[in-house]
Symmetry: C2
Subunit: 346 residues, 2 copies
């Protein structure tokens, strides 16, 4: 405990009040104020950070539940954990100094005490928006990069389909695929998002899955010769339709299945025999498995941002008070682009 | 057409009378006798072979249907095509001589005219049973070898589960896995097969899936720490149970889904989210994609057979007349081991 009362400040937090049952609700969370010392204890190599931006990611909805998967669930009465961008306020760590900017796992709160400093990346490049380190230059960026280039092993001219294509990850996969010379189609859940895919993000085609009577037919229309790479973000009926439209030796990168997370029983997928008949690879992954390649990733992506060859859509809300609604909104597709919460502007 | 009537002989054939609707039935096939010239036309590089053994493989049931998959279905009124062992009777091919033994794609008939000689492998080693070239030394052997070593990338000590484990492929995967130092459990559909797995084939454990109320529970009992590699031969409910028991970074080799082939609608698989959460790889393949590695395969497997380090169970029926029942029996698990049909003993 800090002995100097001057360094103890109020700390607004978003805590898990009870485990979510089905779709996460705002009422599962509570915004409350506790206090925190801004001085690291002597001898500790922890850091204390002031959070500037925190991220809303679909996986957080699962972590709000009690699914019985070891290490997954949040702790009751504790702040949610998420990726964030923060400034170091005090540090017992030799490589992190007061004033340094970092991104990594922080709490949904104004200030976080971080013992596991290995999960923090120091931010060296500030000529791009700092919020990008929760998105294109953070976890979603590495997800798109590893999931597309490493798992899907794309080749020029291949047919690429992306669901949830205007989201934090999908929008990047589509742009990476276009840069590689692929034919790229995305789906999303509103007319506005479809327009963005076609007119802002450079997709060759896009459709609103909510307006399609028959997903199989929609995919056959967009891909008369079939799909080589499917970047899977939604699961369920969409996956079933995709399996009917994959080409031989097609690859499915299983990044997420957001349509399934909040169902009491996930939908049944019937067309898995096509995995055998078309010799399909389907592979799940976590971005964290690729964090060791972050420097290599930055070398590729930073120049693309600076040269305007890739853009990134963010949906930014202000204040931790508005964070619960932003997180819940992910599951109804309320956000347009990467959902970010501003915690503090300085 | 051959001008010399002396070389035209009767040719018993098993032909497709009409496409199968659901499970293949004996009545979909007809045994009839046509005639064939035993002389290759001058200038052709085809061969004529006398078939000694032909194979019954699960995929043949799908080829008997009109599934609309290009190149898959058999031709009505023509003999079924299958892997077989044969002796060359006449040859226009420079590397195949009369008397040579070959294995590859032949017809379900006494004699076959083979234009596509690229699909034939010359048999050089006859100190092992010739029928093995429809099994352990043919397509099922390469399937087990490529599916286990190449697709599943096994490591010593890993936990391996095999469904349809006493079948043509499964029995080999289990023995390969034991040789590598894995913990190996198989499932099959009778007490007799379970005994064979444990007592003849050296599996660490085995269970009769028909006697388990709860497949998930059976797998948890056999694999309290989870499954690293699943060699998938059956699909449906079994796959769903396996997905609940895979370890992180587990691999599923999708070789076949025999429980699903004859259903009007395949069963829904609900636990695909685990592919994301456990970062699972699931991969389909055909043995033919690995036929170019056949020489390498033989170098590994022939010594294992000769040294008695690996055994191979065959279920042999005599005569093309009995071939339809043998093929149909695959789908009810009637066979014990690799199902082979003897066409001729000389």
């Amino acid at each position: 405990m800090a002995s100097d009362s001057e360094v103890v400040v109020n700390n607004k937090q978003v805590i898990l009040k009870h485990f979510a049952n089905g779709a996460p609700k705002e009422s599962d969370l509570e915004v409350k104020t506790s206090s925190i010392s801004l001085k690291v204890e002597p001898g500790s190599n922890a850091v204390i950070v002031k959070n500037l931006y925190v991220s809303c990611d679909p996986l957080m909805g699962n972590r709000m539940k009690n699914l019985g998967i070891p290490g997954l669930s949040y702790t009751l009465e504790s702040p949610l954990e998420a990726f964030g961008v923060a400034r170091v306020v005090d540090s017992g760590h030799s490589e992190l100094k007061t004033g340094d900017l970092v991104w990594g796992a922080v709490g949904w709160e104004e200030y976080s005490l971080i013992n596991n400093t290995q999960s923090l990346f120091k931010i060296h490049h500030t000529d791009v928006p700092l919020s990008y380190y929760t998105g294109i230059l953070g976890m979603p960026g590495i997800t798109a990069w590893a999931g597309f280039y490493e798992l899907a092993a794309p080749k020029k001219g291949e047919n690429v389909y992306i669901s949830a294509a205007s989201g934090a990850v999908g929008q990047l996969v589509g742009q990476f695929a276009k840069l590689m010379g692929c034919y790229v189609v995305g789906s999303a859940g509103s007319k506005e998002k479809v327009e963005i895919l076609k007119n802002k993000l450079g997709f060759d085609d896009a459709f609103n899955y909510k307006e399609e009577q028959d997903l199989n037919g929609a995919l056959k229309r967009c891909f008369p010769e079939g799909i080589d790479i499917y970047f899977e973000n939604v699961g369920g009926k969409m996956l079933d339709a995709v399996l009917q439209n994959m080409r031989n030796h097609g690859r499915i990168t299983a990044c997420g299945m957001i349509s399934q997370y909040n169902l009491r029983q996930p939908e049944g997928v019937h067309n898995l025999m096509n995995i055998v008949f078309q010799r399909i690879q389907m592979k799940g992954f976590f971005a964290t498995d690729y964090f060791h390649e972050y420097a290599k990733f930055l070398e590729v992506v930073l120049p693309l941002i600076r040269e305007g060859k890739i853009i990134y859509l963010e949906d930014i809300v202000e204040g931790l008070e508005n964070a619960p609604a932003a997180l819940v909104g992910l599951f109804s597709g309320r956000n347009v682009g990467k959902q970010v919460v501003v915690v503090s502007k300085d």
